[in-house]
């Protein structure tokens, strides 16, 4: 039996979960993003202290010095939950795949001048390890952070960084005709070559930072703001001008990702700074410390990669300073 009943007969008794309605101040429909992140993390009545950090609770707001009245102010402007995140990345990787296929099928990398190839080997391939450090730091933010909204986005961001490292690996293997020696060279450059040691030191120093929001500022704003700007803007452009346009097809994923991800990074920092004066002072201090360290570390790389290295570095830092000022991290 199928009788058409007017829709009015089957009316919802509420429109969203009550913890979300409380945040709204009324019962109205919530978005998928809101239902996917708000209040998901346990906050009270933990049973046991972590054996790996007995002075803290399992989830503990004091793993950073910043304070928030509500940790769910850290919302993602992209509104990523797992579903729309993977669907967005799937579309981007499909386009990246097409580019790789196009370039590899026509052997277009053979057309890249030797000098440009050398630049890629010297300055891009070792960044696999930089991205890997960023992967670790963002998973650390997810593991130790507070509130499901910023921590879930950090996990996605961490996985993005693994993706970046893997795209760089693919570029390297495409350049070397699948000879993995190119990766070994990249690794030994990263661990031993003078010019990389400053940056490696900054990365290793970041790996032992205890405060997860300091880590957020260090990695995602200060260090990336210099490294990505230098290598995926300025060097990208230089390579383009020196006949390596094909290469740009292969970095499309990383370059586009960088623009998208910075929206999230900037918004999180601005939110922390706007919360209170103590946060603002902390963020400014952290930013200054890591900005200066990263700048010192990267300067020799800029000198080695460009004839006018100090001029390029000045451009890179100026761009980051403008960005940092916008989010309230610059002094």
């Amino acid at each position: 039996m199928h009788i058409d009943i007017k829709a009015k007969e089957v009316k919802p008794i509420r429109h969203t979960y009550s913890h979300i309605a409380r945040r709204f101040g009324e019962d109205r429909p919530a978005t998928r993003y809101q239902e996917a992140v708000l209040d998901l993390q346990p906050v009270d009545n933990f049973h046991y202290r972590p054996t790996w950090q007995p002075d803290k609770e399992l989830y503990d707001p004091t793993r950073t010095a910043i304070t928030m009245e509500d940790w769910y102010k850290f919302l993602d402007p992209r509104q990523f939950y797992y579903g729309n995140y993977t669907m967005a990345r799937a579309a981007q990787q499909a386009s990246a795949d097409k580019n790789f296929e196009f370039v590899e099928k026509r052997n277009l990398l053979a057309l890249v001048p030797a000098a440009a190839k050398e630049t890629i080997v010297d300055f891009i391939v070792p960044l696999r390890h930089y991205e890997w450090g960023a992967n670790m730091n963002n998973y650390q933010i997810c593991a130790m952070g507070y509130g499901a909204s910023i921590t879930s986005a950090a996990a996605m961001h961490g996985s993005d960084r693994l993706g970046n490292a893997q795209y760089i690996t693919r570029i390297a293997l495409a350049l070397s005709d699948n000879d993995p020696a190119i990766l070994d060279t990249g690794l030994s450059d990263w661990t031993d070559k003078d010019v990389w040691q400053g940056l490696r030191k900054v990365v290793e120093d970041s790996l032992v930072v205890d405060d997860w929001f300091e880590l957020f500022v260090a990695q995602n704003l200060a260090m990336d703001g210099i490294v990505h700007e230098l290598f995926f803007e300025h060097l990208e452009q230089k390579l383009n001008e020196s006949g390596a346009a094909t290469y740009s097809m292969l970095t499309e994923f990383i370059v586009n990702w960088k623009t998208e991800a910075s929206r999230w990074v900037d918004s999180q920092i601005a939110i922390a700074v706007e919360e209170n004066a103590a946060n603002a002072a902390l963020v400014k201090g952290w930013y200054k410390k890591w900005f200066e360290a990263a700048q010192r570390a990267v300067a020799p790389l800029a000198d080695a990669a460009f004839d006018n290295g100090s001029e390029v570095m000045a451009n890179v830092t100026r761009t980051l300073e403008v960005r940092a000022a916008k989010v309230g991290a610059a002094a």
Partner: protein
């Protein structure tokens, strides 16, 4: 032109990205994976059989999500909840969202921590992917149940409830225990014991229950999640084998963890046993059958495989084998008595259900449990439905109220007691007490609902204050199904209320 490169090497290049740090010592970069005493000679022996790079991960997972959300959208547009067998069924989903989905979240965070902190890169990459998967599970579950939340009670405060309501301390303490442990114990607890050995006893009952009861939304997210589980099970087994193969000194440590965690998991699953045998209007299989198939048969084969490492079946397997005839009935009894303080409905099984239970439990149901249920039914009919106003003692380890009986005498409730640092602790069973005495400094910390209520930390004295603190809508979220708004609404929607409008079907 291009040199060929095999998949295995390619994957290695894609994931072996680490280096020996020197500006900071490795022990400071990876501070957590040595204090448990697990010895590792060579992290490179960690193999990841799935060899999934991020781009393929995004691709496959993105495709699955697209399909899943299309079905969820269709389900809510067509009021798919009207197609379920009966509104009683929805209580299984309430239990799931309150008790299981928050564990998916905890798994997300736990695997993120191991995904950062294992020294080996292969282990880290695998844990990171599982961390993302577990985020997927909790979020798709919250989205899937969102539709039910709009039409039924018992869903709307699930995170709040998970942090405080007494029976949810059972799953919460289980996962807090795992997450507060070191990374290797976590892998045995969650990766191996839960994902590999017990997962079928959790997910198959819920998903086949959903299928039997017409719940297409849950069936769909269940199956979609199941495709991730293959990876999780492999990771769990890989972690175990890795520990066992790296050093013989690891074997007794791992054995103790297996013993602890299969019991911890088994106790959490006792809630599932009640769900299977009592909440599902249409039951695909009994708890006993599921236990026999998924633990005794599959688990038996697994332990045969592990014997070559010197790993043995936990000694309490005997207890479980005897208890399988009693477990679900005793747990349902506990829930029935304490429904005033639970965000779900209970009921006395009807004749058809009791006959089914007699058939499935020929040795015990008619002898011990049918008389009890019939007595409660008589009391209800006489207007004497009794709701317990206080919480009984709960086990210090598993946190289930004392209600399990002695294996040799099903009429005698089992109590075990021990002392630690001048205080008395109570347990439901020998294995629960053993877990405590192995780590008393940990288990004495447990957040015990009755004691907390008694100390006034849950809203104040007396049931009404506690229920207010729980944020229950009284008579809607708790108490019997009979007379609940769930029942009233269901009957109205289905035209069973005699209003003569006929039945509403999902379009």
């Amino acid at each position: 032109m291009a040199n060929r490169i095999n998949m295995r090497d390619r994957y290695k290049h894609m994931t072996r990205l680490g280096w020996e740090t020197s500006y900071q010592p490795m022990e400071k970069v990876f501070p957590y994976d040595r204090y448990e005493g697990i010895k590792v000679n060579d992290w490179n022996e960690w193999e990841d059989p799935f060899r999934m790079t991020m781009d393929s991960y995004w691709k496959y997972q993105g495709e699955k999500e697209k399909k899943l959300y299309a079905i969820m959208d269709a389900f809510s547009q067509s009021n798919g909840h009207l197609n379920i067998s009966d509104a009683r069924y929805v209580n299984a989903l309430k239990l799931f969202l309150q008790g299981v989905s928050p564990l998916e979240y905890q798994a997300h965070r736990g695997f993120a921590r191991q995904g950062r902190h294992f020294t080996g890169e292969g282990a880290r990459v695998a844990c990171q992917m599982q961390s993302l998967d577990e985020l997927r599970h909790v979020q798709t579950q919250v989205h899937g149940m969102s539709q039910y939340n709009k039409f039924f009670d018992g869903f709307h405060e699930f995170p709040w409830w998970h942090d405080r309501v007494w029976y949810l301390s059972v799953p919460k303490s289980f996962f807090d225990d795992a997450n507060s442990a070191g990374p290797f114990e976590f892998m045995v607890a969650i990766g191996f014991s839960f994902e590999y050995v017990l997962t079928n006893l959790l997910f198959v009952p819920f998903m086949s229950g959903a299928a039997y009861n017409g719940d297409m939304s849950t069936v769909t997210f269940g199956f979609s999640a199941q495709s991730d589980e293959a990876r999780h099970m492999t990771l769990g087994l890989q972690a175990m084998q890795f520990m066992l193969e790296q050093h013989e000194d690891n074997v007794p440590i791992v054995q103790r963890w297996i013993d602890k965690w299969l019991w911890r998991g088994y106790k959490v699953l006792s809630l599932v046993s009640a769900m299977m045998d009592y909440m599902l209007p249409e039951s695909p299989m009994s708890w006993k059958e599921a236990w026999e198939m998924y633990f005794e048969e599959n688990g038996g084969a697994l332990f045969n495989d592990l014997a070559r490492y010197g790993i043995t079946v936990p000694s309490y397997a005997e207890i479980c084998a005897k208890e399988k005839d009693h477990l679900s009935h005793q747990v349902w009894g506990i829930l029935y008595n304490h429904t005033a303080a639970a965000a779900m409905h209970t009921w006395v099984p009807d004749d058809a259900k009791m006959n089914w239970l007699s058939e499935k439990y020929p040795d015990t149901f008619d002898k011990y449990y049918r008389p009890r249920f019939e007595y409660w039914r008589d009391q209800e009919e006489a207007g004497n439905r009794y709701y317990s106003q206080t919480l009984p003692l709960v086990c210090q380890t598993c946190q289930i109220p004392m209600g399990f009986t002695e294996i040799e005498d099903p009429t005698l409730v089992a109590y075990r007691t021990t002392e630690y640092s001048g205080d008395k602790y109570h347990f439901c069973s020998d294995p629960c007490m053993k877990i405590f005495t192995d780590e008393p400094e940990k288990f004495c910390q447990a957040w015990m609902p009755p004691q907390q209520i008694f100390q006034g930390n849950c809203g104040g004295e007396g049931l009404p204050a506690v229920l207010e603190h729980y944020k229950f809508n009284l008579g809607a979220d708790n108490m019997d199904y009979a007379g609940s708004p769930d029942e009233t609404n269901w009957n109205k929607w289905k035209g069973l209320d005699g209003a003569g409008d006929g039945q509403v079907k999902a379009s």
